[in-house]
Amino acid sequence: MHTRLIRLVALFTLACAAGLCPAQDTKPDKSAPTKRLIVGFSQVGAESAWRTAETKSIKDEAAKRNIDLKFSDAQGKQANQLRAIKSFVAQRVDAIILAPVVETGWDEALMEAKKAKIPIILVDRGVTVDDSTTYATLIASDFIEEGRMAAKWLVEKTGGKAVVVELQGTTGAAPALDRQQGFMEVLSKNRGIRLVKTQSADFTRAKGKEVMEAFLKAKGDEITAVYAHNDDMALGAIQAIEEAGKKPGKDILVVSIDGVRAAFEAMVEGKLNATVECNPLLGPMAFDTIEKIKRGETVPKFIKQQDKLFDQSTAKDELPKRRY
C-alpha cells in the first residue's frame, strides 16, 4: 500500500519533469530586426503522393522564405483540422493555410479566425460557407474543368466514337464528384462516346488494377478507352490491360488527371495517352499571397491554377521538368 503511494508520487514527479522539456524548438524571435512571419498549416494527412508533394512544397517554401511554419497533420479527420485552426488562432499566427478535407462545416472556425484578423488561405479545395469573407482566397484547380479537358481530348482523339470505362476516386470526395461531372458534361454533348462501366477505385493504384481487371472480364474486347480520376488508378489500369494481353495506349486509350512524374514516364513508354495536370506545388503561390495580404494589397478570391493537358507528343520534353 505504501509502495503504491510511493510509486504514484514518483510517477507524478516524473511526469512533471517531462513537462519541463521544451515543446517548441523554434521560439518566435521578437528581438530580430525583421519579425518572422508565423504561418499555421493544417493539412489533411499523407494519403497520396499528390498530398505529400503539396506538403513538401509548402514546407520547403516556408524554409526558403524564413517563415516559421506550424504544421498540423489532421490524420484525415475534420475535427482535428477545426482544432488546429482554433489552436493557431490562440497562438496568434499571422496567417493560416488550410487544405480542407471536406467542403462543409467550417463556418465557426473560419469566423473565429476572421475575428482575430488572421487571413485564411484555402488550398486545393474550396469550402461552402455562409459568409465568404471569412477566407481570404482559394488557390486550387478547377476539378470540373479537369474532367472536361480529359473528355474533350478523348472526343478529339477518337473522332467522337469510343466505348469508355471510368475509374472514379473515393466515393463522395469532391475531386471525384467534380471530375466525373465535368466528364459527363462533355459526354452528354457527344453521344458517340459511350460510358459502359464506372466504379470507384479509391484513388489508389491497387484498386485501379483490381477494378480494371473486373471491367476487362465483364466487357472484354468492347472497351476502347479508360478515364481515370487520377494517375495512380490509371497506372494500375495499365498493368491490368497488359496482363490481359492487350496494349495500353494503343488497343485501349488511357487518359487521367494529376500529371505526376510516373504518368509522364508511362507516356514516354507509350502506355498512357494523356494526363491533365493538377499541380500540388502550391507553396510559392500560397506564400506570395500571404505576403501580398500582409502588405495590404487585395488578392483575387479564387486563384485558379491553370491546368494543362499533356499527351505523348510533349511527354518526353516535359519529363525532366516534372517536379512531383
Binding site: G45, A46, E47, S48, A49, T52, T55, T171, V196, K197, T198, Q199, S200, D202, T204, R205, A206, K209, E210, V211, E213, A214, F215, K217, A218, G220, L235, G236, Q239, E243, A244, G245, A262
Partner: protein, 335 residues
C-alpha cells in the same frame, strides 16, 4: 433431436462455409455474363474466377494467421499496418544498392514476424489486452512505415520479386499456390501437431492451459509471429502486384476483412477452435462478392448494403439456432 438430425446438423456446420461460397458463385454466375469464362493464355489461366482467387489471396493469407491468433484467444488488429511496413521494407531493399529479390523477401518476412512478436510480447510480458496492444501497434507500425519511406511511394523494378504476385505455376497464379501451401501447413499444424492442440487449449481456457504445462509464452509469441509473417507475405504480394509500396493505403481496414473471414468460416471469436479452411472459404466468398460488384459496376452505396446483407445471410445459414431446423427440413425431404 434424433441422432440423424445431430449428425446432419454437424455436417451442415462444417460444410456451411463451402455451401455459402458455392451459393455466392452460383449467384454471380447466373447474374453476371462472362463470370465463369476461363481461357488459357500463354500457359496460364485467365478469367474472373482466377482474379477472385488471386486478389483474394491477400485476405486469405491474413485470415490464416488471424485464425490461429483467434484460436489462441487473442486478436490482431495490426495486420494491415504490418502489411504496409513489410511491403515498404522489401521495396527499400529492392531499391537499395543490394537489389536482391531473395533478400527483399527475407526482409519482408522478417519484418512481419518481428511485428508479430512485438504484439505477442506486449500481450504476454506487459499484460496488455490484445485489442489495445494490437491497436497501438496498428498506429505505430503505419507511422514507422511512413517515416522510413519519407511518406513517398517506393517504386521498384524487379521481375524476380514481381513473380510473387504475377508469376504462375501450372497455369495457376503463384499467390494462390502460396495460400494453398501455407493453408495446408496451418491445417497440419492445428490438427496434427502438439502446438496446434496447445494453441486451441490456450484459447479454450488459459488457466487450464497453464495447469497443463502449455508453454504459454512460446505459444503466444509463435501465433502472433505466424500472423505477422502471413501479413508480411501478404504485404509483399500487394507491393509486387503494383510494383510499388504504397504505405499510406496498403492494407487499410483489411484487418476487419480478415476477422470477418475467420468468423464467417465458423471459428468462434472467443477461441478454442480453429477452422482454417472455413476462414479461406469465407475470405473467398467476400472476394467473389467484391469482384462481382466491380464487374457489374455497382456503385459503392449498394455494394456496402449488399455486403451487409450477405454477412447476415451467410451467418444465418450457419446459425446454431437455425441448424436443427434446417436439418429437419433436409431430412423430411429425404424421407
Amino acid at each position: 433431436m434424433s441422432a440423424k438430425q445431430t449428425t446432419t446438423a454437424r455436417l451442415l456446420s462444417s460444410t456451411a462455409p463451402l455451401a455459402v461460397l458455392v451459393l455466392v458463385f452460383l449467384a454471380a454466375w447466373l447474374t453476371t455474363p462472362n463470370f465463369a469464362e476461363i481461357t488459357l493464355r500463354e500457359g496460364r489461366f485467365f478469367g474472373a474466377v482466377i482474379d477472385i482467387l488471386q486478389n483474394g489471396s491477400i485476405v486469405c493469407l491474413l485470415a490464416i494467421g488471424m485464425t490461429l491468433v483467434i484460436a489462441a484467444g487473442f486478436i490482431d488488429l495490426s495486420v494491415g499496418s504490418v502489411m504496409a511496413l513489410s511491403g515498404a521494407a522489401a521495396a527499400l531493399v529492392l531499391t537499395s544498392p543490394l537489389q536482391s529479390a531473395p533478400l527483399a523477401i527475407c526482409a519482408g518476412l522478417a519484418v512481419g514476424a518481428a511485428c508479430g512478436v512485438v504484439n505477442g510480447a506486449l500481450v504476454r510480458f506487459i499484460g496488455l489486452p490484445p485489442i489495445i496492444a494490437t491497436l497501438v501497434w496498428l498506429i505505430a507500425c503505419r507511422g514507422i512505415a511512413q517515416t522510413i519511406t519519407d511518406d513517398q511511394k517506393v517504386r521498384f523494378v524487379s521481375p524476380k520479386f514481381e513473380h510473387l504476385a504475377n508469376g504462375s505455376l501450372f497455369g495457376l497464379p503463384l499467390p494462390l499456390l502460396l495460400v494453398a501451401l501455407i493453408g495446408a501447413s496451418a491445417v497440419f499444424l492445428v490438427r496434427r501437431c502438439t502446438a496446434g492442440l496447445q494453441i486451441r487449449g490456450l484459447g479454450a481456457s488459459p488457466t487450464a492451459a497453464a495447469y497443463c504445462a502449455v508453454p504459454v509464452t512460446r505459444i503466444t509469441l509463435t501465433v502472433f509471429g505466424i500472423c505477422g509473417a502471413c501479413a508480411g507475405l501478404a504485404g509483399m504480394i500487394a507491393a509486387a502486384d503494383i510494383k510499388e509500396a504504397d504505405v499510406a493505403t496498403c492494407g487499410q481496414y483489411l484487418e476487419l476483412d480478415a476477422i470477418l473471414a475467420v468468423v464467417l468460416g465458423g471459428t468462434p471469436l472467443r477461441g478454442g477452435r480453429a477452422n482454417i479452411i472455413g476462414s479461406l472459404l469465407g475470405a473467398l466468398s467476400m472476394q467473389t462478392i467484391s469482384t462481382t460488384m466491380q464487374m457489374r459496376g455497382v456503385p459503392a452505396e449498394h455494394t456496402l448494403l449488399i455486403k451487409g446483407a450477405f454477412i447476415i445471410v451467410a451467418t444465418l445459414v450457419q446459425s446454431p439456432a437455425l441448424r436443427p431446423r434446417l436439418a429437419r427440413i433436409f431430412l423430411r425431404r429425404a424421407a
